[in-house]
Symmetry: C2
């Protein structure tokens, strides 16, 4: 039986990250030495927007919601991330202030690591800097597309697009999709109210003939959705660059 919260497991998890590919073991060791394993209950807050930052995080399991809110409590969801994704690291470039709040959308486990170690590694390891730069540029493109979608896709199309991004887009034939978290949360991720989500999903079903049973959706083929959703997008269908949960 493997324990998932040992230091050696943390070491291995960090080492396996694509972002850190090619880094020295000493770097991983430094990070690991100052690491913490954090189990999070649903809705548990990890840090708040504008808070001073000393640590960044890697998701081991579950879903983390990044968001910001206005004074009156209105909330805007920035992204919802899962296993293998990093967040909080951009504070390095912004006066060590977190640019968003983070909370567990579902029970989750994250690894907490010191920003200082990452920061000094970045200054000496140009491979890492370039890799991070590349991921950042990728993310930027995704953000641009997100904004585009808010502008030109309606609620049903956005849901269809979201579902497609949960699948292997090369698949042919029947596909079963399971929503990864609450519908309410999917709604906020897509910038709409839960009621709108509910009705828009129903409309999506009527327009495309998909089957819905609770949080599970059955497709006869991906084109059933892509014909409907991708018409209102600037990219061709298999949209390789738009995997969901890809932010940091």
């Amino acid at each position: 039986m493997i324990k998932t919260n040992t230091k050696s497991d943390i070491f291995q998890t960090i080492k396996d990250l694509d972002l850190f590919k090619g880094c020295e073991d000493s770097f991983f060791q430094n990070l690991t030495n100052q690491s913490q394993f954090l189990p999070l209950k649903k809705n548990q807050i990890l840090f708040l927007h504008e808070e001073s930052a000393t640590r960044f995080f890697i998701i081991k399991r579950g879903w983390i919601k990044l968001f910001r809110e206005t004074f009156d409590g209105t909330q805007a969801v920035i992204d919802i991330l899962t296993t293998g994704h990093i967040f909080g690291e951009t504070a390095i470039f912004d006066k060590d202030i977190y640019p968003y709040s983070a909370e567990a959308a579902e029970p989750a486990e994250v690894i907490s690591l010191p920003l200082s170690v990452l920061k000094s590694e970045l200054e000496t390891n140009s491979k890492l800097a370039l890799k991070m730069l590349s991921e950042m540029a990728q993310h930027r493109k995704i953000q641009d597309k997100e904004l585009e979608h808010r502008t030109i896709q309606n609620a049903s199309q956005r849901i269809g697009c979201f579902l497609l991004r949960l699948t292997n887009q090369e698949a042919s034939g029947n596909v079963t999709i399971h929503l990864p978290y609450d519908k309410t949360l999917v709604a906020s991720r897509l910038g709409m109210q839960p009621e709108t989500f509910s009705r828009a999903l129903k409309k999506l079903k009527a327009e495309t003939g998909i089957e819905i049973k609770g949080a599970t959706i059955f497709l006869e083929s991906l084109s059933q959705l892509s014909n409907y959703s991708c018409a209102a997008c600037s990219s061709e269908f298999p949209c390789r660059d738009l995997k969901s949960g890809t932010a940091g």
Copy 2:
């Protein structure tokens, strides 16, 4: 009389860029040697989304619109940039493919530079990589906020926010703002129809008491607008990080 399209002027323009601060003259010289000065007429297209990229650009004068469009011609404006801003450079990180289209929103002058030189400089100059990484992270935060605004601000509030970002936010007392380009374009920049823009501006006037004369807007004070617009934003008013035209 200074000519603005000489090689030596290009050299100086590049050297003055914040992004390139600290780079060697040899780098500037390499860029300059392969540079081109391009005067652009209004609506002239510079490159198209998905096109193969060999050059990036720096704006010398005027306004450049970055956008993408769907098959049926619906257009989503990503950003509108002006003097001193760089664009097209992120193609380096995306298989040398432009992630958006670019055209002159107003008569403009841009300097065209080879991506190859930038690319190899990035690989050897870690200061530059870090600086670019930092700017990218900054941009990312701006994009997040842009998305937030689309979600929680209404049309009038977005216009107010846009106007505030055109000003020196430390100013006290009277302020005169001049719209930098067509209202139609401002509308698309803010993700709304021209008709909606027109009505929303009227509403903004009614709600805040600003004065409007054509493309010129008079404020008695910035708080007149900030009270109205920034209520629906997660940031406090003087929002230093949200300068307009800040993308690349």
